[in-house]
Amino acid sequence: MRPSEVPFEAPLTDLRRRIEELESYPEGSGRSKEIARLKEKLERDTVEVYGNLTRWERTLVARHSDRPHTLDYVEHLMSDWIEIHGDRAYADDPAIVAGIASFMGRPVAIVGHEKGRGTKERIERNFGQARPEGYRKALRLLKLAERFKMPVLCLVDTPGAYPGLGAEQRGQAEAIARNLLEMATLRTPIVVTITGEGGSGGALGIAMGDRVFMLEYSVYSVISPEGCAAILWKDQDKKEVAADALRLTAPDIFELGVVDAVIPEPAGGAHANRSETIQNVGGTIAAALAEVEALPIDKLLDQRYRRFRKLGFLIEG
């Protein structure tokens, strides 16, 4: 556990430690009664704490390193995983994983950001910040899925596309733009889930679909609260205020009509119970697939167009 990642969990961490301590004591003198009392309190307090998170605190939950990642979903929901590598032009980008696996008895294409676990892997995967070759690998998979009539599942979890020299030189903007164009008319169903951080264009580059879901404590934003604070408030420390202004939480985004549903997380967030989270996501995706696969493809494409066409707020003066 890394308490510093989510400072508001400190009282809960304390309770957990006390319970553990008591459990190590010998039986007797009301021990089990006290444990039961503390566990009940922990449960109550968890609900209380998680029911009152600020938008900035929710952003920290969305970034929590113990949240399930794309490869965890693959491992627990799929079988026969075949990962593809490379964009056939320059390199393989480990910040995005793509492949084919069996899901509910038939093949599906899966593409998602992968932040990795542990320092070494996290660095290798560039903390889930993809470069153009990542988006181009994703596109290879999309086209493969279209040809072999497989639905596509996208799992989004990135701070943003990587802002580096090489990424610019190799056309970060073009790679993302092309995916938007291709996903708009890809002749196979696409179901997107924002599982952690939906960081701007780097997220959107694999996030256009027939259904778009967000996990309860995930965030989706045009810019990070820190970046927004630096630009508009000229002060990085105004990130809490910026997070509020950006309305980046799943309930906010749902209210704006940008996502179709919010997938509930267990009490205490996805990092507190990965397997329950993964099952919730799996269930939502399965139900969505049944819906979108029932539609003829032209009708689906029409709906997909209208889904994004209607997003916008303006005054017709």
């Binding site: 903007a173 993302i176 959107l204 980046l248 916008g312 005054i315």
Partner: protein
């Protein structure tokens, strides 16, 4: 009162150079060669420095005058104004900010769309206004360019979008991000209809605008020396913690790396667009 205004001194990286439209006053200093130029001379020369060829920024209407045959082409989708879905407020409210920019720029929003002809070929032309909130893309920009693409698809005529934008508009949060998806989807349909889309990138074009319609032209064309990129130069500098190479993220850099078809001087732009539109005219 100063009889000439000095523009800010450029920093070493050409891509990070602050530029402005020509200030009022009789003389201006060129950001390219540092020479002092008579502003009337600039006016006569399409705001291009006669000494070094540096392209000063021009506003959205000047751009339309430059490209479209008609003296007064019909403007489409007027009266679409920004709403405020997030009730966004930083040090100032989004509503007030938008009003201030409207007053300063004389434009309702960050893009204007007209129907007209370019060198005799019919086209729908969208021109972004950098002076309106840095040309940022919110719902109105998204809606107008989407409608422009849909109209061009309906007529099977050419679509030209001239970009000048810092990217998606923060004040509309994720809704601005969705404009990238919306416009790209409309451009995909335009493609299916077999009508051409020419993307013209001018200084500066970055962020979500480059990463959607900016890079999606059947042909991508830029003016010389424009800053074009995904991440802004400052963000990249902060990430890599070293200074950027000379000429990084300029039009010429993008041409060299394969992301533009051509870099065209302003004086040649209209003729080039007309030729491209003629070549790519829909044939059934």
């Amino acid at each position: 009162m100063a009889w000439f205004r000095k523009s800010k001194r450029p920093r070493s990286a050409a891509s990070d150079r602050p530029r402005s439209t020509v200030p009022e006053g009789l003389w201006v200093r060129c950001d390219g060669c540092r020479e002092i130029i008579y502003s009337k001379e600039l006016d006569r020369n399409l705001q291009i420095c006669p000494k070094c060829g540096f392209h000063f920024r021009i506003d959205s209407r000047a751009r339309i005058r430059l490209l479209v045959d008609e003296d007064e082409p019909r403007e489409l989708y007027r009266g679409l104004l920004p709403a405020d879905p997030l009730k966004f407020r930083d040090r100032k409210s989004y509503r007030d900010r938008a009003k201030d920019y409207a007053r300063q720029s004389g434009e309702e929003e960050a893009v204007i769309v007209v129907e007209g002809h370019i060198g005799g070929v019919p086209a729908i032309v969208a021109s972004m206004e950098y002076r309106f909130m840095g040309g940022s893309m919110g719902s109105v920009v998204g809606e107008k360019i989407t409608r422009a693409a849909e109209e061009a698809a309906k007529r099977r005529c050419g679509l030209v979008v001239v970009s000048a934008s810092g990217g998606a508009r923060m004040q509309e949060g994720v809704v601005s991000l969705m404009q990238m998806a919306k416009i790209s989807a409309a451009l995909a349909r335009l493609r299916e209809r077999g009508a051409p889309y020419l993307s013209v990138l001018t200084d500066p074009t970055t962020g979500g605008v480059t990463a959607s319609f900016g890079m999606l032209g059947d042909l991508n064309i830029a003016e010389p020396g424009a800053l074009i990129g995904f991440a802004g130069p400052r963000v990249i500098q902060q990430t890599i913690r070293e200074s950027l190479p000379e000429g990084f993220q300029t039009s010429e850099f993008l041409l060299e790396h394969g992301f533009l078809d051509m870099v065209v001087e302003r004086s040649e732009l209209k003729g080039t667009l007309a030729t491209c539109l003629r070549h790519l005219r829909h044939r059934s």
